[in-house]
C-alpha cells in the first residue's frame, strides 16, 4: 500500500470524480470532483449544507456514493471498503464535534489510536513496547496533555478535547488526515496554536481541513476549495477565491 503504487491510475493520493449522493431525494453531493496530492494540505469552505461533512463521510466510508469514483493512493477504490478498512489504509478523521472516549484516560485514548495491529487476537494479548510507549509520550507532549495523561478524557475542556483528537490522529499516523472544523469553539489563542499544530502536521502528512473560520484558513495559507450545493464552486488560493463573484454571492446572499 505504497503511494507510488506501480499500478496506480493516478499519481494523486485522493481522487474523487463525479461523485453524487442523495438522501430521500435530497441531493447532498452532486458531481463532486476533487484531487489531493501527496503531502498537500487543502482547506475546504462552504456555507451550511454545502456537503462538506457528507464529502468526508464518503471518503471515510460512512456513506456510500450513488455514483462516482473515489480512489485512494492511485488504485484503491474506497467505495468498496468499510470504515475500519479505510482507516487502516491510512485515512484519519477528526469530527466536527470532538469525539474522544470519555471513560478512558487520555493516555488510553492515544494508545487506542496508536498505529498497531487492529485484530481481536492482537489486541487481546497486547503489550505496549518501549518504542510505542515513547511515541505516546511524544504525542502527549505535542498536544500539551502530558501532565494530564491519567485523567479521564471526559473531564477535559472543549479545546483540550479538540487537541486530544488531533493527538489521536497523529498516533494513527495516517497518510491523509480529514479535519472537520478544528477551531470550532476555541478561543483566539487556541485557534492560533491549532493552526501552528496543523501546519506542523502537514509537513509529513496530507491534510484536508474543513473550516468556517476565514481567519483560521488565512493563517493556514493553503489552497482553498469552495463547495456549494454539493459541488465545487471555486478552487485556488484564498485571496483569489474570495475575489470570485459567485463565491461572494453564495456567502453574502443574492
Amino acid at each position: 500500500m505504497n503511494a507510488s503504487n506501480p499500478g496506480a491510475l493516478t499519481s494523486s493520493l485522493l481522487y474523487l470524480d463525479g461523485v453524487s449522493v442523495s438522501f430521500d431525494g435530497f441531493k447532498a453531493i452532486r458531481g463532486l470532483s476533487l484531487t489531493i496530492e501527496p503531502g498537500e494540505m487543502r482547506a475546504i469552505i462552504g456555507p451550511n449544507g454545502a456537503g462538506k461533512t457528507t464529502m468526508m463521510d464518503i471518503i471515510t466510508g460512512k456513506t456510500k456514493p450513488d455514483v462516482g469514483t473515489v480512489m485512494f493512493g492511485g488504485s484503491i477504490d474506497l467505495t468498496k471498503l468499510d470504515e475500519a478498512a479505510i482507516a487502516n489504509l491510512g485515512i484519519g478523521r477528526k469530527f466536527q464535534k470532538p469525539t474522544v472516549f470519555d471513560f478512558h484516560t487520555i493516555e488510553d485514548n492515544i494508545l487506542l489510536a496508536l498505529k498497531a495491529p487492529r485484530s481481536v487476537a492482537k489486541t487481546l494479548f497486547w503489550k505496549t513496547a518501549a518504542a510505542q510507549a515513547k511515541r505516546i509520550d511524544d504525542i502527549l507532549g505535542i498536544i500539551k496533555l502530558g501532565d494530564a495523561r491519567d485523567r479521564l478524557a471526559g473531564s477535559l475542556s472543549h479545546g483540550q478535547k479538540q487537541w486530544l483528537e488531533i493527538g489521536m490522529l497523529l498516533a494513527q499516523d495516517p497518510k491523509l488526515l480529514l479535519v472537520d472544523e478544528p477551531a470550532a469553539g476555541m478561543t483566539d489563542g487556541e485557534t492560533a496554536e491549532t493552526a501552528v499544530l496543523l501546519k506542523e502536521i502537514a509537513k509529513d502528512h496530507s491534510v484536508i481541513v474543513v473550516e468556517h473560520d476565514m481567519g483560521f484558513i488565512r493563517e493556514l495559507g493553503v489552497k482553498v476549495t469552495v463547495l456549494h450545493e454539493g459541488s465545487v464552486l471555486a478552487e485556488g488560493p484564498l485571496d483569489v477565491v474570495s475575489a470570485n463573484e459567485r463565491v461572494v454571492e453564495v456567502y453574502l446572499g443574492r
Partner: protein, 533 residues
Amino acid sequence: MRIVSCLLRMIALATLLALQPGVASAQGADEAFTRLGADSFSDTNRAIELLIVNAHPQAAAIIEALAAGRLLAGAGAVVIKTTDGKILDARTGSALAAEPAGLAPVRLNNGVRRTIQGALGGLGLLNPDPAKRISAAEAVFKSRDVALLPVLEGAIAKETDAKAKAALRQAQAAILVAKSDAPPFDRIAAIDVLRERGDQDALATLRSLPADSSPALKEAQGRAVSAIEGKLALWRAGQNLWYGLSLGSVLLLAAIGLAITFGVMGVINMAHGEMVMLGAYTTFIVQEVIRTRFPGLFDYSLLIAVPLAFMVAGLVGIAIERGVIRFLYGRPLETLLATWGISLILQQAVRTAFGPTNREVGAPNFMSGAVEIGQLAITWNRLWIIVFAGLVFAALLAILKLTPIGLQMRAVTQNRRMASAMGIRTGRVDALTFGLGSGVAGLAGVALSQIDNVSPNLGQSYIIDSFMVVVFGGVGNLWGTLISAMTLGVANKLLEPYAGAVLGKIALLVFIILFIQKRPRGLFALKGRAVEA
C-alpha cells in the same frame, strides 16, 4: 326407536295441522306430566314426545317454558312460571294462587335441548313470523328429519315470503338427498339446491348421500361437492385474511400506546402491558357498577368505560412519568429496569385488590354473535375492535399532527433543549405524552377485555408482541406501527393453517430477527445523516 318417534311425531303434526285439539288420549298426557317430574333426562325427552304425539293443547307453551328453564315440576305438580312471575298450571294453563311446595325447575341437557329444538322447529314451520319460519327451517335443515317432509311440503306450498321459501326449500332438499326412496329426479334437483346454498353445512349434507345411491346421483353429488369446495377454498382465504386483520387490529391496539411512549419518547416502557391491564380492569369495574346499580345501561358499558379507562391509565402513566421516568431521560435502558419494577408492583397491586382469578367482563349485545357475509363469518366483537383500533389510530394521528399539544410533543422529542428555549414547558409535555401513550394502552384494555382474560397477567402476554410490532414498524413512526401490526397479524394467520400456531409464531419471530438485520431501524426508518449521528 328413533323411527318410531318420528312416525309418531308425523302423525301428531298432521293432527296439529288439522287443528283438532282435544282428541288426544288423556292417558298419554298424564304419563308426560309424571315423566316431567321424574328428574331424568330420558324421561323429559319422552315427555316432550308424548306431549306432541298427544297434541296436548299446552304443548307449545310447556316446551317453550321448558326451554327457558321456567317449567317447574315435582311431587305430582307441573307448573309454568311466566316471565312476569305468574304461576300457571301446566296442564290447563290456568293461573294458580301460589307455587306448590317442593318444585324444582326441570333440568336440561344437550339431548333435551336438541329434542326441544326439533319440536319447536316442527311447530315453528307454521309460525306467522317469517323470521321464525326461517330459523325453524334451519333447524330442520340440520336435523334432516324425514318425518317433517310432508309438513315442509305443505309449508312451501303456502309460503309467500321469498327468503323463507328458499330456506324451506333447502330444508326439504337436505331431507331428500338422504332419502333413498325419493324420486331420483327430485333428489338431483335437491343436490342443485344445496349446491346453490354452497356453505359448509350444505357440504356436510351432500356428504350424507348414502353410499349405495345411483351413479347419476353420485356424479351430481361429486360435481356439487367439488364446486362448493372450490368456492369455499376462496372464501377460506378471505376468512384467513379477515382473521389476520382482526389479529392485526389487536396488535395495533396493544402496540400503539407503546409507539408513543417507546417510539416517540424513547422510554422502554415495560409497564405498558400493565396499562392495558388497568384499562381492562376499569371496564370490569364499570360493568360491576352498572350491573348492580343501572342494569339498563349494560349495552353502553363499554362506551362509558372508554373515557374512564383512558383517564385511569393516563393518570397512572402521568404519575409514573413524574414519579420515576423523568429522572431517567437519556438513559433509555434504565427506564427498562425501573418500569419493569413498576410493572411487578402494578401486577401485584391488582392481584391484591381484585384477587388473582379472572374477572368477568360481559359483551354488550351489539358485540355478541356473528354476521355471515357470503361464507365469511364476521364476529361482531372482532369487527368492532377493528373499527375501534382504526378510530384510536386516527385520533392519535390527529392529536399529534393537528393540535398544539401534539406539535409541542413532537418538538420536545426532536430537540428538547431547543423546545425548552422556545418556552415550551418540557416537563409538562413529557408527562402529557407519557399520559397519552398510557391512556391509549388503557383503551386497548377495554377492547382486549372482550376477547381475553381480565387477570393480573393480561399485560404480560402482550408486552413482547407490542415491542416486536413497534420495532418492526420502525420506532417513532405511527404509520409504521399500523403497517407492521397488520402485516404481522395477517402473516401469522396465513401461516397458522400450515405451520400451526406455535411454529407460525416462531417463524414470525425469526423473520423479525432477520428483517432487522436487513433494515436495522425497522420498516419505516428515517434515513440520512441526522439519525445516524
